[in-house]
Amino acid sequence: MSETSSPTNEAPLLDTGVERDLQNVQESGLLDYRSESLPTWCPGCGYYGITHAMTEAINELDIEPHNLVFVSGIGCAGRYPFFMNAYGLHAIHGRAVPMGAGVKIANPDLSVIVVGGDGDGLGIGGGHLSHAIRRNVDITYILFDNGIYGLTKGQTSPTTPQEQITGTHPYGNPDMPLDAVTLGISYRASFVARGYAGQQHDLTPIMRRAFAHKGFSFVVVYTPCVTFDKVNITYENMRGNWKPLPDDYDDGNILEAMKYAMDDTLWHGVFYEEQRPTFHDHERETAEKARS
């Protein structure tokens, strides 16, 4: 999947397994939330794993497809809505969060899940995140963090580590990367988690909690871009530095959350959860005040 191709970038002719994949899904009875369109991601892309985990978690909820809305930005991740049997808004680059918030605020009866890449969400769309979070709009935002611009073929993203060589940084990326989880916490999201596409047994329960959370839930999923990142978030590298949050971890302590988020070890799990009035709760209050 690519927005462009250049003569010097030829793709290998590989078996992608998507047909098999869809068949598995059909057999598993999860089809309610999978459309007939086959994902067009590269074989091996972490996005297949995320899709599985999300489909599993959604299946357990009691939402009818016509009350479910997927909103996405532009990027490989952005294609997600085409592959699901639900309403979908494949928006423009970086604007999935405000579009999704608009859907939810206009009709609070809908379930809204926003998906998008790291460039989409932290680069061009980075200005919207803090605000949707502080409004605590009751949507779930799944950030597909592959540390690279996939669709445009391998440029630096806001989460690409320093020194990594990419299309736009042939001498190495000079910019310190952002960590999405740290940002989520500093914006005081009422739910912040980190998961990994390669580890579904951990990811599915995180998704489940995120969907169930009332308020803005922010899930950052590390996911390998097998085509354009051979050095950073690879299946290989992820085996080492990736640990579940300790058993006695207190997900109600924001400073603790910050400490673990900023740590050199890549902890995963739910970093922070807090129940506070959602945008909709405030709205109800405003309406009452207005009417009296």
Binding site: H66, I92, G102, A287, R291
Partner: protein, 593 residues
Amino acid sequence: MSVKTDNASRDVVIAVCGAAGDGSIAAGQILNMAATTMGYHVMNFDSFPAEIRGFGKSVAHSRISRDKALTPGTMVNCLVALDDPHSITELHSLTQDGVVIYDSKPADYHEEDQAVAGWIQPGMIGYGAPLRDLSAQATKSSKSRNIVALGVISYVFGFEPGAFHEAIHRRWSGKSESLREMNVEAFNLGYEYAEANIDKVDPIDFKNITEGHVTDANIVSGNEAAAKACLDANLRLYVGYPITPATKIMEILAKQLPKQGGVVVQSEDEISAICHVIGGGFAGKRSCTATSGPGVCLMTEALNLAVMAEVPCVLINAQRGGPSTGLPTKTEQSDLNLAIYGASGESPRAVLAPANVGECYQITRKAFEVADGFQTPVIVLMDFFLSNRMEDVRWQAEDPGTWGTYEDVLAEPSEEEYKRFAFTESGISPRSYPGMQDLQHPITGLEHTEDSLPAYSGENHTRMMAKRQRKLDKLAREWPGPEVVGPEGDLDVGIISWGSTVGAGKNAIKQLQAKTDARIGGLFPRLVWPLQTDAITEFAGRCEHLVVAETNYTGQFANLVQQVTLREVTRVAEAAARPLPTQIIVDRVQDLL
């Protein structure tokens, strides 16, 4: 007291001039209310300093007339001088035999040549009254001399004092009874002083022109009218970001919309605002934002998505002077090109332009119907002049039905394969939105097939471009033809203007018809995009000369007219930080005759 009288003045402009803080704007407001109560129409356009702290000149400018005025007018029949030095610089706009009401005992610190009284020349009529003294007498401060002046006016021009008393109470309805009473007292002192001391020599004379007080008139600004339109259109979601001169719309809706179940969000920027709105439109709810030029720039990318994905939504652009941050507090009609062409690729959308405050209501209301009916973003082009000028509006007369009715085409839940973007003759495909059963689909800013999957074939692209265009062609056919005025048959000069300049255009026709034998007519579209080409061409065909008048530098609408009529047009276009004066059009037409 409330007898209909026929020899009352027909059309008078009163300007109250002071420094910021002198209360000229408040005086104007009270005057407007009183005049409306007595049955008159008012049109009001204030000018005030751009800085809060400003020591600048504030002028409340009220046109009071028996027939609805088309423009606020540039000449003044009566100038009320609350600050002498500032008022001296306003004397040039006084009509022949115009009246100056001045403080006969101005503050001591005025230099001799800074007293307005010293500048009253033959051809002007001066009435002095000790405004400061009387003010101090009533309120122990010089601050109420604006109200004292209203008392003088009331007596001299025959305004009913009761209408003023009422207006004073209305104006300060939130304040204490004693404050209101003190102001009534100030008013009365002015009235009594004038009754006892002033020899009336001017011809201005107001009498009640309706029986009983008028109670169905509201004096509202264009912003207020647009906000009310949103409320009456059952807006569900307003998302906005403050910007002059659109902020007021948001502030009103923030107060009112929650009362009827709608939601107002202040977003972090204009991009977010329009994205929320598109989300709301996609969700099947009426959604709207208002902004001004710089904000529109930021919205162009998302607006383009709404065109491509056929999402209904409404964007009000209260234009201001540009380019860039430009002149935030000055009027200009210079965002027409941006409204029509501000998109990458070709992106047909509807652009509507109200001509007066009443139409800010009607057209904005209609915009929601057009958005739904044609599944498209609709831009309403207001401007600083429309946003901030005030007119008396009688809501029950403001029937938006005038502008056609449009159907919202929704899909039926069905067994068959639903195609969100099915090719149809009209270009309009039955819409579904989240919550509607069995009609799930994705929408996208990528070019797509009938069933909304990305598609890059030339054939599909061409058909989809045509489909989107057909919708707009249909709108051009179904929207009522542009207003055409003047005699039938051949015309010496045809005047075209749009938006806030329609008033000046019509006014020019009136004045020219009165002055000359020439056959003068006009064409005044409210739908400025898509163009109603046939009507424009037909009208142009009747005209010896074609004049297009608008408040911008390059003649943006003139360019469009020239493009479709293949005729050289005479441009009356200025970007001079003010509404286009009628006189400029009149002069230009007379040059042509």
